[in-house]
Amino acid sequence: MSSTLLGTYIQLAGLFAMLSLLSIGGGNVVLPEMHMQAVNHRHWLTSSQFADLFSISQTAPGPSILIVSMVGYGAGLQAGGIPGAIIGGVIAMVAMVLPSATFAYTVTLFWQKAEQSKLRRAVEKGLPPLTVGLIMATSLVMSRAADHDWRAYTVTAICTVIFLRSKVNPLIIVGSAAVIGYFGLI
């Protein structure tokens, strides 16, 4: 392994381990910092590459934080070709997941022990109404991005009625909508 490649991996691991613990409120919070480091400081990607990769990662299955593995891929590609790129992608993902997941695990252990506490009972009664409001806020933001015209809104409306009224596996509905989209009907 060349020293440049090793250096890149160390930079990737250090950057994303730090961003992992700074991403309070979700991965999107550290996107500006990630952009500045990957594009302006380290020159792993151009700004338009970063934007393209971001939009790809948003619709790909799985957690949206997978954007970091694409940044790691781009960084490794420069120094080590395709094998180097793949390892870079994996290193970036592990570095982004491990610190925050360890923290979440510790909090969960504490939370399990606090099962009968007043705090936990208050949280489980007091937070759900708020959470539902936040999810509705999320659907509004999602719909601004996904529903471009009346046809897409119609699909969203019809799907909502189906999800509420029938017991059909949602995957069949999402899959059907994908097929309709594939043929350019929405």
Binding site: S23, A104, A177
Partner: protein
């Protein structure tokens, strides 16, 4: 759910379940899929437990979806369960994303599945709206819950107030309202 029931979930089933959640969420709607599978289908988490954990997972550093996997995995099988859930949620999507990265850097574009994702996104929005209606029915049962719900939507959704600011205002109100009183606790 009793502890014996919880103990029967194998690590493989945990990983497989989170893999299923991740792959079902093409086009978005991962939270709605998590609820659909963890609460409705498997019954591993209660509705209130899931909804409160969801907001806590957003406050903690890191991806809220991965934090939710840690929460559910730890509850079911401890540390090994948390690892299994993360592996299930991330490994196959990671392979997919690395493949897409390869295609992007090699051909300067990704295979033309934009239309399909566009359609799936419209349905994923519907799944998330459905989640609001279904969970709303169970927990929006009074004036204060309705105000908390409306406050969170208006601040975070309409005024685009940051998540942490929204929670700093509303969470204390929710907790004070929900704090168990002595009489209620002994009843």
């Amino acid at each position: 759910m009793s502890d014996e029931q919880v103990g029967r979930v194998s690590l493989f089933e945990l990983a497989l379940t989170f893999n299923h959640i991740a792959l079902a969420s093409f086009g978005g709607g991962l939270s709605a899929w998590s609820r659909e599978v963890l609460v409705v289908e498997k019954g591993w988490l209660g509705e209130a437990e899931f909804l409160s954990a969801m907001t806590m997972c957003r406050i903690l550093p890191g991806s809220n979806q991965i934090n939710m996997a840690v929460f559910a995995g730890t509850k079911l099988r401890g540390l090994a369960g948390a690892v299994a859930a993360i592996v299930g949620l991330c490994v196959v999507p990671l392979i997919i994303v690395l493949t897409l990265s390869f295609a992007y850097f090699r051909f300067k574009e990704v295979p033309s599945i934009k239309g399909a994702l566009h359609g799936a996104s419209a349905a994923a929005v519907a799944l998330t709206v459905t989640m609001v209606i279904k969970t709303g029915k169970t927990c929006l049962t009074g004036v204060i819950p309705l105000l908390l719900f409306a406050g969170a939507f208006v601040l975070n959704g309409l005024l685009r107030f940051p998540l942490l600011g929204t929670l700093a205002i509303l969470a204390p109100i929710g907790l004070i309202w929900a704090w168990p009183r002595e009489k209620a606790a002994s009843a």
